[in-house]
């Protein structure tokens, strides 16, 4: 049994956690800005996406995974995006014709 182990640094997770907390505070504060509905939703989702990427990359270790893991993520993301775009391309134009 291997008793001599490398010490995995906790520095990066703690930095990422601090960033996540900073972004949480930022998103709460920015919700008080008057940006109109579309603006505030877009800003909130933009910040949430940055937070999600940090969690995926560093907490879920996608940065250390083989390429196939990233391809899976890409496929899942594009599928979701298509479903949202297709749904809204329907709903947004209902009642116009």
């Amino acid at each position: 049994m291997n008793t001599q182990r490398e010490n995995i640094s906790s520095r990066i997770p703690i930095i990422i956690f601090s960033l996540l907390i900073f972004l949480t505070i930022l998103t709460v504060l920015s919700s008080n800005l008057v940006l109109g509905d579309a603006g505030s939703v877009v800003l909130a989702m933009f910040i949430a996406s940055i937070k999600a990427s940090l969690v995926l990359t560093f907490f879920m270790h996608l940065n250390h995974e083989p390429l196939i893991f990233k391809l899976f993520l890409g496929v899942a993301f594009l599928t979701l995006l298509s479903i949202f775009i297709l749904t809204f391309s329907d709903y947004s134009f209902r009642g116009l014709a």
Binding site: P13, F17, D37, I68
Partner: protein, 221 residues
């Protein structure tokens, strides 16, 4: 001799990367479950914008922020637990895992108080049977006191989405308790951390869902 060692290896062969990839696939099915809710939320919100904003005003941003920070902290302790196990510090790993379970429980307790205050205002998830038996909320069932449709939809989605999320927290918590027991017994150890790793991936996924739930319910009022 050489042949024998090869065949022994075959028997014990375990593809850690493949297992992890399979687990990621499972996580995507979870993601799509929530994506369906998010899609319904997005469509109804765009159709009932004012009602959604009025109803969202009733949610407490402070409580939501507090729970967000708790969940992010639990994700950190989960990473630290896995790192500790991989570094051979089994006791430290168990301590961080207990912290994670504790933070998950704190999240649920706060969520419980939040739901409870909504119940006090006659806002809850109702079943068709309950409504038929006269146990429906006057605010959410047809009648003189019923809220506008958009607000009824908002509260329905709020309970379904945060409820499904809370269910995942409970499942994650139970899983962590099982993993804790297995680390204790030694079947999960520095040479075999896979189960803790996948438990962590699940926990981060639950955190990921909350990262999007939080602004959509608590911030865009």
């Amino acid at each position: 001799m050489n042949e024998q060692s090869v065949s022994t290896e075959m028997v014990h062969h375990h593809d850690e990367t493949g297992t992890r990839l399979g687990f990621w696939l499972f996580l995507y099915t979870e993601l799509f479950l929530f994506a369906a809710f998010f899609l319904i939320y997005a469509v109804y919100r765009s159709n009932h914008l004012e009602d959604f904003k009025i109803a969202a005003e009733s949610l407490n941003t402070g409580i939501g922020t507090q729970n967000t920070i708790i969940l992010l902290a639990s994700s950190l302790t989960m990473v630290l637990s896995l790192n500790a196990l991989k570094s051979g510090k089994v006791k430290l790993s168990k301590t961080f895992l207990l912290f994670t379970i504790g933070l998950g429980t704190a999240f649920l307790i706060i969520k419980g108080f939040e739901w409870n205050s909504k119940f006090g205002h006659h806002l809850f998830l109702q079943t068709a049977g309950g409504i038929a038996a006269g146990e429906g909320s006057p605010l959410l069932t047809p009648g003189a006191d019923m809220l506008p449709n958009g607000q009824v939809l908002f509260y329905g989605l709020y309970f379904i989405m945060t409820g499904t999320h809370a269910l995942h927290i409970i499942i994650g918590g139970i899983w962590m308790l099982v993993v804790y027991r297995w680390i204790d017994k030694g079947s999960i150890n520095p040479d075999n951390p896979g189960v803790l790793e996948r438990c962590g991936l699940y926990w981060h996924m639950v955190d990921l869902i909350w990262i999007f739930l939080f602004p959509l319910y608590y911030l865009v009022a």
